[in-house]
Structures are given as structure tokens and as C-alpha cells.
Amino acid sequence: MDRDIEIISAEKWLIKLDKSIYDKEAVLKTGFIFQDHFDVKVSSISDKIFGVLISKKEVDVDVNDIAKRFFNELIDQQIRLDNEKMFGDLRKEIVKQAFRPVHFNKIKNGMEEKGDEK
């Protein structure tokens, strides 16, 4: 199980997350989005697990619903983080290519010529 929930009190939970799957950054980003609902504190429990302490802010809120949305958001934030590692550089290259100055007489066939032809 990549995640594990320990209920500390009615307003506090400790979520244990597998470090090999979730980055701290993903947790913090998720926390950022849910900050109207939760206070989020992240710390390292062991070298394989970190703990996320969640304190509820609002009184009458469906805990299960919010927790479910939190986890779904966390998964998606992790996907986004992984994606950026995968194609962040390619994105920058494309944007750079988009704004390169145009020397009309020097266009050969419009594409980059340095070895990214596959």
C-alpha cells in the first residue's frame, strides 16, 4: 500500500506515504490547493516513509469526501511532477523554438537541423 492513514483525533490524521512513489513537492502542492480545508505539515518518518499531518480547518465538512479528493489530487500532482521531469526540457525547447528570431533568407526547411531528425 503506497499510503496509510492513522486517525489521531476527529480533526487530525497522519498519512504515511511511500517516498519512492510520492515526492514531498507533490504533497506540498496538494496541501497548497486544499489550504482552505486543511493545515498540512510534512516530515520524514523514516528513510522510506514520510508523514503528513493533516489538521481540519472547517467544522462541518464531509471528512471522507475531502480525504478522497485530497488523495486524488495528490496522485495527479505526482503525475504532473513526473511528467515535468520527463518532458520539461522538451517543453522549454519548443517554447524557445517558437520565439526564435526569424531570418527569412536563412530558412532551409523551417525545422531544426541539428540531429533531432529520427
Binding site: F104, I107, K108, N109, G110, M111
Partner: protein
Amino acid sequence: MRSLNGIPNNFDNLIIGRVSTKQIKGKKRRETIFTTPELNYDLKDYKAIISSKKLSSDNLEHFSKIPLIHSVANLDYLNDGDLVLLEMDKGVITVMIENNSVHNSIFATSQCNCRCIMCPQPSEQDPSDREQINLEIIRLMDSSTGALGITGGEPTINKERLINILRQCKKYLLKTQIQILTNGILLKSIEYVKEIANIGIPNLFYCIPLYADTDIEHDYIMQKENAYRDTILGLYNLAALKQSVEIRIVVFSYNYKRLSRIAEFIYHNFPFVKHVAIMGMELEGIAKKNIKKLWISPQDYMPLVEKAVFYLSRRDIDVSIYNEQLCLMPKKLWAFSCKSISDWKNIHIEECDHCTLRAQCGGFFKSVSEDRMKLIKAIRNS
């Protein structure tokens, strides 16, 4: 092109001239080919004579000074203003330009750099004097002609030839829309496009086929590696130099299911396109050989054509349907259908005699398949 046969007299050269079914006077005779059932006229100074009269070898003595082809059946195929090519050695008359048609083309070359699996052009050798003939045709054409297609083969293969043709068009056909039918592959060189653009033809269109929204599929249909990539680069060069572009999609078994996606790809990647033509197959040449693999019934593909047409029309992209019959498409598509088939290719089907929309319908290719003919139904009360 329409051809007639007859018996030539003693000349053996190639002659190009303008048909006249009536006598004309003076200098104009020099470029005119007088077409007549009878020969008891003053025939001096005409470029050539075509007649349906049957002459025996004795009578021919009287007509030794002027090229003549006699005993021609179907003389009424020839109309005033048509441009014909006479092969005097064979007695063959070919109608190169039809005065009444809006779909005239000249063939820049038979050579092609692809081998599309549904290509309707039969492969043949380029006659050595093709270039001369083309330049002569353009010179003799009526300068008020609406449109002239430059086709082939692949017109861009021989750059010098193409440029010469285009220069001739600029000189003699300034008001005519010149349509280059090309796969655009060699236009991936921006220098090539610049050369054409610099000729300065005021109304120039490039008609470029795209058969798929992805490379593997498009390249397979063209039977040429990197066709997709090169055509797209050509399209972008044309756009960079503000040339007018039409994209054509021939619909058949390999691509009909993705027709909407192709339309989408065109809109997002080539929004500068001036016109999109969605076309039924012409079953000649290679297409005829492959018909079993290529054929898909209009009943199956027309709903997809409808989706693609309205996709583009919503986005204010001018779109037309070519080579389809009105009875095989829903009424809401009629406004998009064009009479695109050159008149000489049209044939007659009896069912159509009863149809109220016959005049507006595009008709058929000579090569129409049995399967399609079975689906034709006259529209009676419209």
C-alpha cells in the same frame, strides 16, 4: 481527354489550333482549324481542316496544300473555341481545351515522385514535345478563361518546365485562375516556392492532397517515405510566402473513418487554407487495379463526409464535395456539392433521365463502378 479519329492527308506533323465550326475571314484563319461536314468552301490559310466527309484517294488531290483529316465521326463533339491537337501522322484529334468547360487542365509531365494507391492517372511516357505543345496551348487559349489546371504526374518534378509554363500563363492568361495540382513534396524547399511566387501570377492556387492526419498512414497511401513530413513543410512554405492553398482529401476505404480527424488536423495546422475539397475516388489507372481494396460504399462514408463538412463549415473554412452524386448524399450537403467532373468524363445513366436535379448534379466519371451505379436513384419531386 476526348479523342476523335479520321483519315489524314499527306502531312505528318503535330498541329495545334482553335476550332471554328463557321467560316472566318482574314488573319484569324492562321490559328484556326475549320471543322465542317462539307468541303465546298474557300479553305485557304486555315491551319487545318477537320471534316466528317468521306473522301476517296482521288478527291484528296484537291486538298493537298492544307492539313486535312476527313471521315471523322462525331464531329459535333468539337465546339467553337476548343483547342485541338492534331497528330497528322495518325489522324488523331485530341481536344486539349474545351471552351464550354470550367475544368481544363494541361499536363506538365507524366512523371511522378509518388505512386498513390488510388491514383487515377495511367502511367505513360512523356512525349518529347510535351513542353512545346503546352506552351502553344496556353498561347492560343481564350484569355477570358476562368480557370486552368496544371497537372500530371507531378508538375513540380521538372522545375524549369513548370516555371516556363507559369511564365507563359502570366503572359497570356493574366485573368485566369491557375491551379497547380501538386503533392507539395518538392515545395519543402522555400527557394522553389520563392521562384514560383516571383513569377507574379495574380491568381494562383496550389491544390495539395492530404490523405491522413498521421504520417505512417499518409505515407503508405502515397507509397513514399516522408511524404507527410515534406508535404507539411511545403504547405508551411506556401503559407510563409502568402500563397493560396487548397487541400484535397480523396475518400476511400483506408481513410474514410478518420475523415473528421483529418478535417480537424487541417483546421488546427493549416488554418490559412483557402478551400478544402472532399473528393470521391476516380476509378482509373492504379485505383482501378486496386479497386477491391479501395472501394467503400458512399452509404458507408457519407455520414463521415457530413461530419467533416460541417466541422469545417462551422469554422468558416470554405469546403466543397467533389465527384459525388446528389442522390447519394443527404439534402443538407447539396449546397456543398460541386459539379467537378470534366464534361468529357461524364457518362449517361438512364435513371438520371427521371431526376429533377440532373442539371445541378456533378454526374459520374466514365469509370464509375457497378456498385455505385446500383445506388443511384432519381430525385423526383424537388
